[in-house]
Amino acid sequence: MRVMAQMAMVMNLDKCIGCHTCSVTCKQTWTNRSGVEYVWFNNVETRPGQGYPRTYEDQERWLGGWTRTRRGRLTLRSGGRLRKLLTIFSNPKLPSIQDYYEPWTYDYDILTTAPLQEHTPVARPRSLITGEHTKIEWSANWDDNLAGAPELATRDPLIKGIEDKVRFEFEQTFMFYLPRICEHCLNPSCAASCPSGAIYKRTEDGIVLVDQDRCRGWRMCVSGCPYKKVYFNHRTGKAEKCTFCFPRVEVGLPTVCAETCVGRLRYIGLVLYDADKVLAAASVAEEHDLLEAQRQVFLDPQDPDVVRAAEQTGIPRDWIEAAQRSPIHALINTYRVALPLHPEYRTMPMVWYIPPLSPVVDVIRDTGHDAEDHGNLFAAIDALRIPVEYLARLFTAGDPEPVNSVLRKLAAMRSYMRDINLGREPREEIAAGAGMTGEQVYDMYRLLALAKYEDRYVIPPAHAEQAHGLEELATECSLDYDGGPGMGGSGPFGESSGGVSPIAVENFRMLRDRQSSDTMAAPDEKAHRVNLLNWDGKGRPEGLFPPRRQP
C-alpha cells in the first residue's frame, strides 16, 4: 500500500441550474487573455448536446484516453508513445478552432462614435481570428437549453444506439447540465501523451499541471485527453489547462468555480488512494467493472492501517484529518451516490458526479393517485424523463444499475425526509429499500441539502472555518507575468496593444518591462478601441484610462 492524497471534486448534477456562473468567474479569473479567447477551463454543457468542443466524447473520432489491449495492457487510444514520437510534428487528432468556436467581438465603439447617419448605429460582430465581420455560427455554449436540438443534439455521441429512448419531441423533452473542469485524473492520458514531460501531477494533492517552461507545444496532450480539457494557447504556443485553482487551494480556499457555484452543488475534499492499485484498476477487463475497481482504489481514511501508512508516506496529520472529514469520500464511498465521468476512458477521473433526478413523463402525470402515497408523490425511477441509459453512458460505461441505485437513494431520501418534514414518524423501511439506514439517509440529506460552506469544502492545510478570512493570503506581487493585471495580451476577445511575444524564461524580464512601461508597446490604429479585456497590461493606451492628473 502506497498512500497518496488527491484533491477531488464532486458535483451534484441534481442541483445544477445551468447558470454558467462557474464558467464566467473561471474565465474572468484565468483565461480572459489573448491566445485563449476560446478557452473555458470550466464549461457547462446542456445534455443531450454535443458538448465543447463539439462531440469530444466521440473517441472513435478523437482517439482520446486509454484502451486496453488484448494482452491486458493499457495503451493510449491515439497510439503508443512510439507513434507519438513519429507523428510529433503533425497531430491529426486535434480539434480545430471551429470545433471549439471561433471567438469574436463587436464594433462596440461605433455606438458612441458613429457620425450622423441614416440608420441607428449597431455593433456588428467581428471575428477575432480573421478580424473580419462575421456571421456567428457557433459559440462556447451554442446548444444551451436544447437550442437547435432537433438538428444538433441528434449528433450527441452518447445517443448512438439509444435513439428510441432519446426523442426530440415536445412531450418527451428532457435536459440537464453537465459542468466540466479538468478531471485531474489518477491515470492522466494527457500526461502520458506529452513528449516533453511537461504535464505533471503534483505529489501532495494530485493536481495536474502543465509546466509552462517545459511545454513545447506539441499538443499531444490535447489529443490525448478524452475530455478535451487541455487547451492550446495560440499566443504562447503552450498548453494550458484548469489548475484546480492551486494558488487558492493551497491556502484553503475552494476553487473559483466551486466557491462561486450558486447552485451550491460542488464539493471539494481529499481522497486517500493506494497508488499501487491504480494501474490495475484502470486496466480491468470489463468496462462495467471499472466503477467498482476505481472505488476500491480509494482508501478508508478511518482505517488505522491506512492512517499509519499515510503518516509513513509523509502525509501530514491535518491532511489525514481532512481526508477523514472529506465530503468526497462520503459521497463516493460511504453513500455511493457519486459516479465518475466516463470511467471507460480509463483515466480514473477525479471529478465525480451525482446524476440528476428529473420529472416524470406523462404516464404517471395523467393518472390521478393518492397524493400522499410515497410511490406516487415522488415518481418511480423508471418513469423519469432522463433515460437511465443516457446517464449510464456518461457515468458507468453504460451499466444502468449503479445509476438506478443512486437515483433510488435520492428518491428514498426525499420520501424519508418528507415524513420528518411533516412531523410524522420516519419510516426505516424507506431507507432500507435503498440499502441505507435512516441515520445514513439523514446524514446524506444534511450533506446534500444543507451543504454548509464548511461541509462542502474541506481543504487542508488551512482550516475551512477560517476560509472566509483567507482571501489575502494568496496574493503576491502583481504584474510579474504575461498578460498584465488579469486581463491579458491581445485580449480574450479583442485587440492588441502590442505584438505577440511567446512567454518564455528568456523574455520574461522583457515582458515585465513592457508591462510596467508607460507607453504603448506597439501602438497602431486599433489602439483607440482597446478595452481592458483586450489590453495586455502594457502601458496606458489612449482612451483606456482617465487622463492622469497634472501635478
Partner: protein, 1194 residues
C-alpha cells in the same frame, strides 16, 4: 502490470523523451518535485491589491454581495461574497449569491461601450451654441430652439442616428438645466418627468434624480405597474403592494408550485433553496408552456397553454372547494377563512329580472342607517352563528380611521362565530359571468333577508362561481370533475389549457392535502409568465384563492411568492423621504407610467374598440383622473404655476378657483387632449434605466410620436403629433437603446465606483456598494451628477423663475382617510352631473406648494425641516423623526449658510446612505418600536414586542460595509423576522390579528366596486388572452399565408441578461448566440422552412423585428419566445420589411390598459405609487413570422 511495450517503458523510465521528472513506478504519471517556478504564472495571476465589497444596482432582485478584485488600481474581476449571516444550523445558507450576469459585470468598466464623457446630439449642440451666442442666455437659447418648429424637428429627427459629440460637463449640464427652467416657466413643472426604477437595488442612485425632479415639482413615473410586474391582484386581495417570502422560506414549504416563474433563470441565486428543499421531502411542480429551465427540477410538469393558467387554477380551486369545504370540512381551513378572509361576509343580491346578481357588501350603514356610527359604510357584516344575528366584527376599514375605531381595528372575533354559508336558507339563482364562452352561468345560492336586503355570503357565491354543487340549489352545475361543458371543472380546463384533467385534479388535491397536514405550508411561486397578461389580475386571484382557502397566507413556508420586479426597498421610509424630497415639500407628483405613455406616445389613437360602458380607454383614463382615482400629469391644460398666480389674483382659495375654472370649462384636464402642445411632456430624464431598450411597450410609437424620429410603425397614420419631447436626458455607464436616442448622455459611475445601499425581498439583509476605484474618465455618480445639474438650474432660476407657487393635484391615496371617499365603490363623476367636484373627495386633492427654484441645489444636499416637523408616513403610520434628525446632524454634519443652514448634510452619497438607514424602521430599532406602538393604539393588540429585541439597534453604513446585516421587524412590512425567523408576508396579520389594509380588513375574494361588477370580475374568474384578431384584425394563431405564420409572441426574461443589461456583455454573448434571437418549435420552423440560426423577420401592425431563429423541441407549437430586452445595438441588421434597422422586442408590442386598474378612491382600490395602476402588459400579442433573405445588410 505495465504499459504497452518494454521498449517504450525503458524509454520513459530513463528520460521521458526530453525532460526530467520523477516517473511513477508503473510509468503512469510523472510527478514533479521542486522547481515549480513555471507555476508562477498562475500564482501571480491570482494576486491582487485589495478586495472591495459591492453589488449591482438595478433591475435585478438578486441583491448579491460581491468581492471586486483590484490590482494596480484596475478592477480585474469579481467573485461572490460568502459572509451572509447564518440562517440557522438546520437549513442551507444564502452563500453564495450571484449569477453569470453579475459575474461578468466588471467587463463594463473599461469596455468600449462605456460612456466616458458627456455627449450631446451634434445637431442640437450646434443649434444651442448658435442660439446661446445670439441670445446670450442659456434659457432663452433653449426656448429659441424648441419654439422653432423647423429647428426642433431637425434635431428630433436626428435622434437615434449617431452623431453624438463630446461636450463638457459644464456645457451639458447648462443645456439640461436651461431646458428644465424653460419648460417649468413656459409649460409648468409637471411637464418635466423622471424615470428610474427599482430603488431597492441602489437607493441613493435612485433618489438622486427623483429628489431633483420632485423638488422641481416634476412627475416621477411609476415602474412596478409600468413593467406589468405589479400584480394588481395584490392590492385587490391584500390591500398591499406586494409582500412575499424571502427565498429562504421556500425551504419551509412542503409543497411548491413554480407557476410561470422560471426560478433558475430569473432568481438564479435563490434557485438552490428550491433544489435543496426537495431533499427535505418537498414536492415541486412546474407549470410552464415550454420545457423551461425549472422544469428539470420539478416532480411534475404541467404544460398549460400560454395565458390559460387561470383556468387551471380555477379547476384546482374547484377541487379544493369540493373536497375540503363541501364534501368534508377541514377545521384548519374553516377557522382560517372565517378569521382572515371575506368569505363569511354578507353580500347584497340585486334582482335582475328572474335572477339575481351579486351587489355590494352589506355594511353597518345598511343595518343601522344613520345610527351606524362613524364610517358605517365601511364596516362590513357577518352572520354570527352564536347569536344568530348579523353582526359587525372589528377590523374592517371603518375601524381604521376616526375615534370610535381606536383599539378596534383588529381581527379579534371575540365571541363571534361567523357563519360561512347561509345553507338552509332559501335558494336564489344568481347570474355569474363567464368569458370562455358566450353567455353567463346561472347557479343557486342560499340567501336570506337582513334588514330588507337579500344577502348571501361570499363563500356561497364562491361555490356558485366555481361550480361546486350542493344539494337543493337550483341552476346549471357541472355533473362531476369529468363534465367539460361547465366551468370550472378539471375536464373543462383540459380543453382550455391542454393539461390533463386528472393531473389538474390531483395537483389541486395534493396542494390542499399538504396544506391541511402542514397547517398552511403549500406555496406557489408565480412570475412574469403568469403576471404579464392583460388579465393577469384574474389569473392571480385564482392563484390566491388556492393559497388563501388552504390557510397558507401568513404562514412560513406557505402562500403566494410573487417574483417579478418586486424588489423590496426595506428601509422604505428613509428612502422615500429622500427620493421625493418630502423633507422640503409635499406632496410630490407621482404618475402612473402606463397611462402616461399610452397617452403621450399616442397609442390611444390606434385603439379600434370601446373599453368599458361604451367608453374608450382614453375616456376612462380622463374620467379616473378627474374623479381623483388615479394621478394625471401634466394635470391641467395650463401651467400650474400660472394657475396659482391666477388663483391669487382672483382672491379666492386656490382650490376654489380651480374648481370654478373646471366647472366653467375654462380649465380642462390635460389628459383629455394629450395631443395639444400645452399638454406634451417636454423634458424626460432617464437614469439607472433603459426605457427604449427594455420597458417601452410600443417602441415604434415612442419613436414616432414622442421622439419624432424614424419608426417602423405599420399602423396607418392617424395624424397625431410627432416629436412631443423636447429633451431626452439619460445618465448611463454604457450605450443602450435609450442613450442612443438621447439628446444628452451623461457618463455615469458604475456599481463598482460609488457608495450606495441594496436590499431585496429575496433575503433579509441590507448591504452596501463601495467604490473599488474612483469614477474614471469624466464619469460621476448619479448623486453628484444631479447635484451638478441642480447647481446650474438654481443659478439660471434666479433670473427666470425665482419663488413660485405651484398647484399640485394628487389622487385619493391608499392608507389615508381618502380611501373612504367613495362608499360602496359607486362611480360618481362630477362632470357627468353625478355630484359636485369636491377636491379630495370627488376629484383630486389640490395643494399649493411654494417652490423656491433658486434653492433647489441647496435643498438637494441637505435634509429639510419637514422631516422633523411633520415626520414620515409609511402605510398609514407616521414616524416622529426628531431624534433621528438630531442624530444625522451629528453623524453627517450640517450645512452652513444658505437656504439649508443648519440642516444635516446630504452632500455625499455616504450621507444619503446614513440618512436612509437612520430614518427607517427596518434599519433603526427605535423607529420600528415607535411605529408598532402607534399601531398598537389603533389595533388594541400587542405588536411592539416584535421589534423590542432590536430597539437599540441602529444599522450604520459602516455595518453594511463590513458584511450584510439582517434587518429589523418593522410595521413598514407585514411579516416578522423576530427571533431570527424567515420572512413570510402577513405573519403579523395572522399571528397578531392585525387587519389587512382592505375594506373588510381581511383578504378579499369578492370586490364590489362598480367597475369590477361591470367587468364581471367580482369573484375569481377565468379570462382568456385577448383576441388580437377581433381587436386589431391580426391573423389568428396558426394562420399561414404569404407573409408567414402567425404565432403567439411572448417576451420572457432571458438567461443571458438582466433586462437589457449584460445582453451586450461579451461574456454573455459568447455563451449564447451572440445577438437577437427568437425561439420557436420545430413544428413551426418546419412550416415556414426555417433552420436553426436562420435570419427571420417578425412583423405585426406595431412594427418589425429581425432576429435569428433558435429551433428547439422544448418550445410548444404556436408560440415563439423573443427574450425580453435584447436591445437593438448588437448585430441587428436592417429589415427587409421596413428597410430600417431591425427592431427590438417591444417593436411588436403596444400598450393596452385594463379599465379595472384605473379604479381609485375606494378602500384597497385606492392609488399609491407603484401600489396600484394600469399595467404595461404585453403577452397577449401575436406576430407573423417568416424566413427572410439570408444575406443581411447593416
Amino acid at each position: 502490470m505495465s504499459t504497452e511495450s518494454d521498449f517504450i517503458d525503458a524509454l520513459v523510465r530513463t528520460r521521458r523523451f526530453f525532460t526530467r521528472a520523477e516517473v511513477s513506478e508503473d510509468l503512469r504519471t510523472v510527478h514533479q518535485i521542486g522547481g515549480r517556478a513555471a507555476d508562477e504564472f498562475y500564482r501571480d495571476r491570482w494576486s491582487h491589491d485589495k478586495v472591495v465589497r459591492s453589488t449591482h444596482g438595478v433591475n435585478c432582485t438578486g441583491s448579491c454581495s460581491w468581492k471586486v478584485y483590484v490590482k494596480d488600481g484596475i478592477i480585474t474581476w469579481e467573485t461572490q461574497q460568502t459572509d451572509y449571516p447564518s440562517v440557522g444550523p438546520d437549513r442551507p445558507e444564502y452563500e453564495p449569491r450571484g449569477c453569470p450576469r453579475g459575474a461578468a459585470f466588471s467587463w463594463y468598466t473599461y469596455s468600449p461601450t462605456r460612456v466616458r464623457y458627456p455627449y450631446v446630439r451634434g445637431v442640437l449642440l450646434d443649434l444651442y451654441r448658435e442660439a446661446k451666442a445670439r441670445t446670450g442666455d442659456p434659457v432663452l437659447a433653449w426656448a429659441d430652439i424648441v419654439d422653432d418648429p423647423e429647428r426642433s424637428r431637425r434635431y428630433k429627427a436626428a435622434r437615434g442616428k449617431g452623431g453624438l459629440v463630446r461636450a463638457s460637463w459644464d456645457e451639458a449640464t447648462e443645456m439640461v438645466a436651461a431646458a428644465h427652467v424653460h419648460t417649468i416657466k413656459r409649460w409648468g413643472p409637471d411637464r418635466v418627468a423622471g424615470f428610474s426604477p427599482i430603488p431597492a437595488m441602489s437607493m441613493v442612485s435612485h433618489a438622486s434624480g427623483a429628489r431633483f425632479v420632485s423638488l422641481l415639482g416634476g412627475s416621477m413615473l411609476s415602474f412596478y405597474d409600468w413593467y406589468a410586474d405589479l400584480p394588481v391582484a395584490s392590492p385587490q386581495v391584500f390591500g398591499d403592494q406586494t409582500d412575499v417570502p424571502e427565498s429562504g422560506d421556500w425551504w419551509d414549504a412542503g409543497y411548491l408550485i413554480m407557476w410561470g416563474s422560471n426560478v433558475p433563470v430569473t432568481r438564479t441565486p435563490d434557485a438552490h433553496w428550491m433544489a435543496e428543499a426537495r431533499y427535505r421531502g418537498q414536492k415541486v411542480v412546474a407549470v410552464a408552456p415550454d420545457y423551461a429551465d425549472n422544469v428539470k427540477f420539478a416532480d411534475e410538469w404541467l404544460a398549460a397553454a400560454p395565458g390559460t393558467d387561470g383556468a387551471l387554477a380555477m379547476a384546482m380551486g374547484h377541487v379544493v372547494l369540493k373536497e375540503f369545504f363541501v364534501d368534508r370540512q377541514v377545521p384548519y381551513f374553516t377557522d382560517y377563512v372565517k378569521r382572515y378572509t371575506d368569505l363569511p361576509f354578507l353580500v347584497k343580491l340585486e334582482r335582475r329580472g328572474n335572477t339575481c346578481v351579486p351587489g355590494k357588501f352589506l355594511t353597518a350603514a345598511d343595518l343601522y342607517g344613520p345610527l351606524g356610527g362613524e364610517n358605517a359604510a365601511f364596516k362590513t357584516v357577518v352572520f354570527d352563528d352564536v347569536k344568530g344575528t348579523p353582526v359587525v366584527p372589528n377590523g374592517s376599514l371603518g375601524f381604521r380611521y376616526g375615534d370610535q375605531g381606536e383599539g378596534r381595528w383588529n381581527l379579534d372575533l371575540g365571541d363571534i362565530d361567523p357563519r360561512l354559508s347561509l345553507e338552509g336558507a332559501d335558494a336564489v339563482e344568481v347570474e355569474l359571468p363567464r368569458f370562455d364562452a358566450d353567455g353567463s352561468m346561472l347557479r343557486g345560492v342560499p340567501a336570506q333577508y337582513v334588514n330588507g336586503f337579500l344577502v348571501t355570503t361570499v363563500f356561497d357565491l364562491m361555490l356558485a362561481q366555481y361550480g361546486v354543487r350542493r344539494e337543493g340549489l337550483p341552476g346549471v352545475w357541472p355533473t362531476g370533475y369529468d363534465d367539460a361543458s361547465e366551468p370550472y371543472t378539471p375536464a373543462w380546463q383540459e380543453a382550455v389549457t391542454g393539461v390533463p384533467a386528472k393531473a389538474a385534479e390531483r395537483i389541486g388535491r395534493e396542494f390542499a392535502a399538504n396544506a391541511e397536514e402542514s397547517r398552511g405550508r403549500s406555496m406557489i411561486l408565480m412570475g412574469a409568465g403568469t403576471n404579464h397578461w392583460f388579465h393577469s389580475d384574474t389569473i392571480y386571484r385564482a392563484f390566491l384563492a388556492l393559497t388563501t382557502l388552504t390557510g397558507c397566507q401568513g404562514v412560513n413556508g406557505g402562500g403566494w411568492a410573487h417574483y417579478v420586479g418586486q424588489e423590496k426597498c426595506r428601509p422604505i421610509t428613509g428612502w422615500s423621504q429622500l427620493a421625493f424630497g418630502l423633507d422640503w415639500s409635499r406632496p410630490p407628483r407621482q404618475m402612473i407610467q402606463t397611462a402616461y405613455w399610452y397617452l403621450h406616445t399616442d397609442q390611444f389613437r390606434y385603439d379600434r374598440f370601446d373599453s368599458l360602458g361604451g367608453k374608450s380607454t382614453h375616456e376612462l383614463i380622463a374620467q379616473s383622473a378627474r374623479m381623483g382615482w388615479m394621478p394625471s400629469y401634466p394635470t391641467f391644460d395650463r401651467n400650474p404655476l400660472d394657475l396659482a398666480d391666477d388663483a391669487e389674483q382672483s382672491g379666492r382659495p386656490a382650490a376654489d378657483h380651480v374648481v370654478d375654472e373646471l366647472k366653467s370649462g375654462r380649465l380642462r384636464f390635460a389628459c383629455e387632449d394629450p395631443d395639444a402642445p400645452e399638454n406634451f411632456p417636454r423634458v424626460l430624464s432617464v437614469w439607472r434605466a433603459n426605457l427604449l431598450g427594455s420597458s417601452a411597450k410600443g417602441n415604434e410609437y415612442f419613436l414616432k410620436h414622442l421622439l419624432g424620429t424614424d419608426s417602423s410603425l405599420r399602423e396607418d397614420d392617424v395624424g397625431a403629433p410627432t416629436g412631443k419631447l423636447d429633451l431626452l436626458l439619460s445618465l448611463d455607464f454604457r450605450m443602450t437603446s435609450t442613450t442612443i436616442f438621447s439628446d444628452v448622455v451623461l457618463p455615469a459611475a458604475t456599481w463598482y465606483e460609488k457608495h450606495d445601499l441594496n436590499t431585496t425581498d429575496m433575503h433579509p439583509f441590507v448591504h452596501s456598494f463601495n467604490p473599488a476605484i474612483s469614477p474614471p474618465w469624466q464619469t460621476r455618480t448619479d448623486w453628484a451628477a444631479f447635484q451638478a445639474i441642480a447647481e446650474v438650474f438654481s443659478t439660471l432660476a434666479e433670473k427666470h423663475l425665482g419663488v413660485r407657487k405651484d398647484i399640485v393635484a394628487t389622487p385619493l391615496l391608499h392608507d389615508t382617510p381618502d380611501e373612504l371617499a367613495n362608499p360602496h365603490g359607486v362611480v360618481r363623476d362630477w362632470k357627468a352631473g353625478d355630484c359636485e367636484p369636491v377636491p379630495g373627495v370627488t376629484m383630486p386633492r389640490l395643494t399649493v406648494v411654494e417652490r423656491d427654484y433658486t434653492a433647489i441645489a441647496a435643498k438637494m444636499s441637505a435634509l429639510g425641516p419637514l422631516a422633523d416637523k411633520l415626520g414620515a408616513t409609511t402605510k398609514g403610520i407616521t414616524y416622529d423623526l426628531g431624534r433621528e434628525v438630531d442624530y444625522l446632524t451629528h453623524k453627517n454634519g450640517t450645512i452652513r449658510g444658505g437656504p439649508a443652514d443648519g440642516r444635516p448634510s446630504l452632500v455625499r452619497d455616504v450621507h444619503a446612505c446614513e440618512a436612509i438607514l437612520a430614518l427607517s424602521g427596518t434599519t433603526n430599532g427605535h423607529l420600528a418600536t415607535q411605529g408598532f406602538k402607534k399601531l398598537e393604539r389603533r389595533t388594541g393588540t400587542e405588536l411592539a414586542d416584535l421589534a423590542a429585541e432590536h430597539e437599540g439597534k441602529q444599522i450604520t453604513f459602516a455595518d453594511t460595509q463590513a458584511a450584510p446585516v439582517p434587518v429589523i421587524t418593522s410595521p413598514e412590512w407585514s411579516g416578522s423576522e423576530t427571533g431570527g425567523r424567515r420572512y413570510s408576508p402577513f405573519t403579523i396579520n395572522v399571528e397578531r390579528l392585525k387587519p389587512w389594509h382592505t375594506l373588510t380588513g381581511r383578504q378579499h375574494f369578492f370586490l364590489d366596486h362598480d367597475w369590477m361588477t361591470e367587468m364581471g370580475e367580482q369573484l375569481p374568474v377565468f379570462r382568456p388572452p385577448l383576441d388580437m384578431t377581433a381587436l386589431f384584425d391580426e391573423p389568428a394563431i396558426g394562420d399561414q399565408g404569404a407573409e408567414g405564420l402567425t404565432v403567439r409572441y411572448l417576451t420572457p426574461h432571458s438567461k443571458w441578461s438582466i433586462h437589457s443589461e449584460y445582453q451586450d456583455n461579451l461574456f454573455m454573448l459568447s455563451l449564447s448566440r451572440g445577438g437577437q434571437t427568437i425561439w420557436m418549435s420545430a413544428e413551426d420552423a418546419a412550416k415556414i422552412g426555417v433552420a436553426d440560426n436562420d435570419w427571420i423577420e417578425a412583423v405585426n401592425r406595431n412594427g418589425v423585428v429581425v432576429a435569428r431563429a433558435i429551433v428547439s423541441h422544448r418550445m410548444p407549437e404556436g408560440t415563439v419566445y423573443m427574450h425580453h430586452a435584447q436591445d437593438r445595438l448588437i448585430d441587428v441588421p436592417r429589415s427587409e420589411t421596413s428597410g430600417k434597422r431591425g427592431g427590438i422586442h417591444n417593436s411588436l408590442t403596444r400598450l393596452l390598459i385594463k379599465p379595472s386598474h384605473l379604479i381609485g378612491g375606494y378602500a384597497q382600490l385606492s392609488f399609491a405609487f407603484n401600489y396600484l395602476g394600469p399595467t404595461g402588459n404585453q403577452r397577449d400579442e401575436v406576430t407573423v413570422i417568416r424566413r427572410r433573405g439570408q444575406e443581411v445588410t447593416y
